[in-house]
Symmetry: C2
């Protein structure tokens, strides 16, 4: 748990043992049951979450009442609603545990203090944010370029693990395909 977070920090910056202790003391361990919400549409997002184990999805309900999944996140990923967290505005998405999920979470206020006390963290979160930009651009770039069938094949190939852990209709939603049409695609 502790080591898992420490390893992640060490990927990008070096913290002294004391610094890491200070950082770690600001995190809280939480376990969510399947279907529990970490963040509800309309609330202001107060936490950044580091996933120790499990699977989180980010989704909203569209005007027709259909769930639209915008992101999945698994072990060793950071998750939050950046817009709501950074600007302290009401969230337009829900964060929900797809499986039983354990996270380390940190409050915005605590993080703000830490960033001042340990400037190396600025670098860390700059890199995390840049990686997020890269990931999102790759995702949508691919999405825009490819048709439904290729999107699905790519998804299964790329993260075969997901195809196991997530029901098909959620993959469909993430890929912006109706489950019915995905069914057709899988046939032929």
């Amino acid at each position: 748990m502790k080591t898992q977070l420490q390893n992640y920090f060490n990927r990008h910056i070096s913290l002294t043992e004391a610094q890491f202790e200070e950082v770690y003391s600001c995190f809280e361990i939480k376990t969510y049951q399947k279907k529990d919400l970490l963040l509800r549409e309309g609330e202001v997002c107060q936490h950044k979450y580091f996933i120790i184990d499990g699977l989180i999805r980010s989704y909203y309900i569209d005007d027709k009442g259909t769930e639209k999944i915008t992101q999945f996140a698994i072990e060793n990923w950071w998750v939050t609603n950046t817009e709501s967290f950074a600007l302290q505005r009401p969230s337009n998405i829900n964060l929900q545990a797809v499986e039983e999920t354990t996270v380390l979470r940190i409050k915005k206020d605590d993080l703000d203090v830490l960033l001042v006390e340990i400037p190396a963290l600025e670098k860390f979160f700059r890199i995390v944010a840049e990686n997020m930009v890269i990931a999102i651009q790759r995702r949508y770039g691919f999405y825009m370029k490819m048709n439904s069938k290729i999107r699905y094949e790519h998804f299964v190939e790329w993260i075969p693990d997901f195809a196991q852990r997530v029901p098909l209709y959620m993959i469909a939603s993430y890929l912006d395909i109706t489950p019915e049409y995905l069914s057709q695609l899988r046939k032929g």
Copy 2:
């Protein structure tokens, strides 16, 4: 020019006059003519650009030979290909001046040095990166939710300036609509 950059830094962090001078000395002024490329597909992106004046687009050529625009950037925006710049990989997009455009640009190597010397810059670029995440998510979130007609109307309403400065077929490309279909939409 100098002030414009300084103002932008001051939005998020405070630099002493001396620090700003050091920062500024790493930037180079460049003017690109209409259609000049700042970055070519396949090259590794070596610069971050701060636009003083003008308009830059980011685009690639798809398998059918059609230009697909992924981003526009104007005065006071930062632009680069984050993936290529951060990971020093070949770029999958072109950056091109849509109008005559003046930028302040900084080399990756120089920026890396600056970030070490002036840690406050880490915070600055963390915030810039977070804002980019927010902007991209808003953009694609909206894109996914809305149909072509609403995307177009929103675009014109949101940045009316653009509708003047950018040919219609580029707006179509950015909104992922064929120019022919956009023509139909504008009629009825």
